[in-house]
Structures are given as structure tokens and as C-alpha cells.
Symmetry: C2
Subunit: 177 residues, 2 copies
Amino acid sequence: MNIRILCLGILSFREASGYEIKKEIEEGMFSHFIDASFGSIYPALSQLNAEGLVTVRAEEQTGRPDKKVYAVTEQGREALAKGLLVIPARDKYKSEFLFEMLFKAMLPEAHVRLAIEKQLHDLKDDLLRMHECRQLGQVDQGSEFIMGYGEAVLSAGARYLEDRLAELQPKPAIAAE
Amino acid sequence: MNIRILCLGILSFREASGYEIKKEIEEGMFSHFIDASFGSIYPALSQLNAEGLVTVRAEEQTGRPDKKVYAVTEQGREALAKGLLVIPARDKYKSEFLFEMLFKAMLPEAHVRLAIEKQLHDLKDDLLRMHECRQLGQVDQGSEFIMGYGEAVLSAGARYLEDRLAELQPKPAIAAE
DNA sequence: GTGAACATGTAACAAGTTACATGATTGA
DNA sequence: TCAATCATGTAACTTGTTACATGTTCAC
């Protein structure tokens, strides 16, 4: 799954600029399983345009570059449909947190606590974002499915961490690492 | 978290060759949150050796290249300890599966079923590997923690998918996409 | 008046994977 | 006899990120 299909997918819901696509990836409900930077989005959009899979329309703005609004073409929709019919590759999951916890026994407890708290914060942050999307978004079949999955997985992780935290020595009043 | 620290970490449990490290990453209990190929492991080990963080000992073998057994040095342990004291970066999770499911409504149901079944299979595969490691391995504090986390998260995902599968139209006797 | 949000784009860089090169042994 | 396992290593390639370049407006 490359950035090209990702852009086509997002544009299939509504037309958008590169900037808006980035925002959607960061703040939308995909954020916990997708990533992309400007350095990959802008070139991808130019390329899609060159191939006729999207069209561009420049919206004039005062004091900043024209906003280039991209929209998917019929060819683009076909390319997307084709791209979606591939059985997806295995999930890729990388966790420095879990790797660190493997050496839990040799780390200061204060550090372990901090690391767990940070991980818990990250999980809750993702959960919160999803709840927000639920409230102010159009939740169709697909988004309902992925949010349900995300909530199941993230909240299971959060519950586990909360239980482990509770088992740790009581938190000192003033913590310092 | 780069491959260097990963190698140091694995070597801190026991000495091993590059080949064995790769196997551990693939089949050990880290497999679901860590990845590495020979192309990154071998150069990392040479580099660590050049820096004095590991030592090498060549074990002669008949009919195949000498097995280079690496062991971490005192300096290496210090470098590892230092590397572990950094608050871990946010988890990176990429899922083509979830991205595809976002377009669930426009995909043939047979394909959706296949994709879900494949994802379920992947999750169960990871769970199974962990159970195996539990049985034949030394489960210390750290591995207990990460396996507990993995089991919590993976089984929550699996449960969700099983529920969704049950809601789908009953499976045709002979399925074809 | 300082930083964030808006808005696009490129070039240099990082980090890793894939494919190639080599070759014996073992089990199905 | 065919694939897998053992065993190392390099070079080419992918894919993407980070930093730079540029500039306005708005909120605190």
C-alpha cells in the first residue's frame, strides 16, 4: 500500500489539497495505522495528475500559494478499486516501547513507570481522536469497522497497562527520574 | 530504535550468530513488533564489532561458512543500558488491512471475508507463537510483560474480527472470489 | 512579537529491503 | 528431486523522512 493509493482513497471521499490530505492522515481516524509526510504526498499527487488519475484546480488565495485542489477521475476510481482487490499485506507493527520493556528488570523503576505512562498516553490519545471523529463525522460501514477494530485493540492495550501500573510501587509524591 | 541496539539486546541474553539473531526475530516472541533482514543485521554486527561493543569468535563448520558467534562486551552492555534509557518513540503501526476495510462498502463481500479471515489468521499466528515461547522459554519479568501486552492486544483484535465474521452472510459451501 | 496554521515544493539523507553471489546438507 | 535450513555477505534499490526555501495571517 503506497502513498499513491492512499491519496486516491482519501480523494475518493472528497476532493482535497495536499495540505488537507496530510491533515486528514494526522487528525483523521486513520492516524493510528497510516503515516505520510509532505515530502511523499506532494510528489505522489503530481504523479497521479500526470497519469490522469486525478485532476487539479487551482484556488487563488491572497498572501499564500494557490491551493491546489485535487479530485479523483474515473480512471482514478478504477485504479483504486483495482488496488483494493489485492489481499492486504501483513500488518507492520514496530514498538520501541515493547522492546524496552523486555529489559524491564534491568531498568530503574522510575523509568519503567514513565515509559508505561507515555505509552498509555499515546493509546488514549488515539482513542480520543477516534471518539472525536465518531461525533463529528459521517460514520459509514467502513469507518465503523475500522474504528471498532481500533477501539478494541487500543483499549485492550490501555487496560493492560493500567493494571500493570497499579501493580507498581505506589507513585512517589514528587517523581524525578 | 535501530538494528544496532536490537542486536545488542538479543546478544545480552545469549551469544549468537547473525543467522540466529534473524531466527530469533522471526520466530521469537518479538516477531510481532520487530523486523529485520540479513541485509541490515550483518552490517550492524560488523559495525558493533569494529566499535568494540561485541566480540566475534569463528566456529568452524564443514561444508558451510564459519559460524561467527557474537558476544556482547562490557562496553556493549553499557551502550545498551544507555540506549534503553531513552523514552521510546511512539509505536509505528501500518495496516493495509484496515485501509482496505475503510472501503468495505464498495468491495465484493467475498473479498471482504477473505481479507478478514487472513487478518484473523495472522493474529492467531502471532498468538500461537507466543504461547509456544511461553512453554519452551525462560519467561522472565520482561518477556512476561511484553507477552501479556501482546496477548491482550492481539486477542482483542481477533475477538472483534470473529464477531464481525459471524455477522456476515453465511459462508457459501464453495467459496470463490 | 512569537508561534501556529495555512500552503507548496525539492533535495539531501536515512534506514532499511530485495536480489544476488555461493554452496553443503537434510528431509519429504 | 525439490524445497528448506544452514551460513555469510554486498550492492542496488525502495520508500520514505527531514530539512530547507518562501511567505502571510491570525491568535495570544
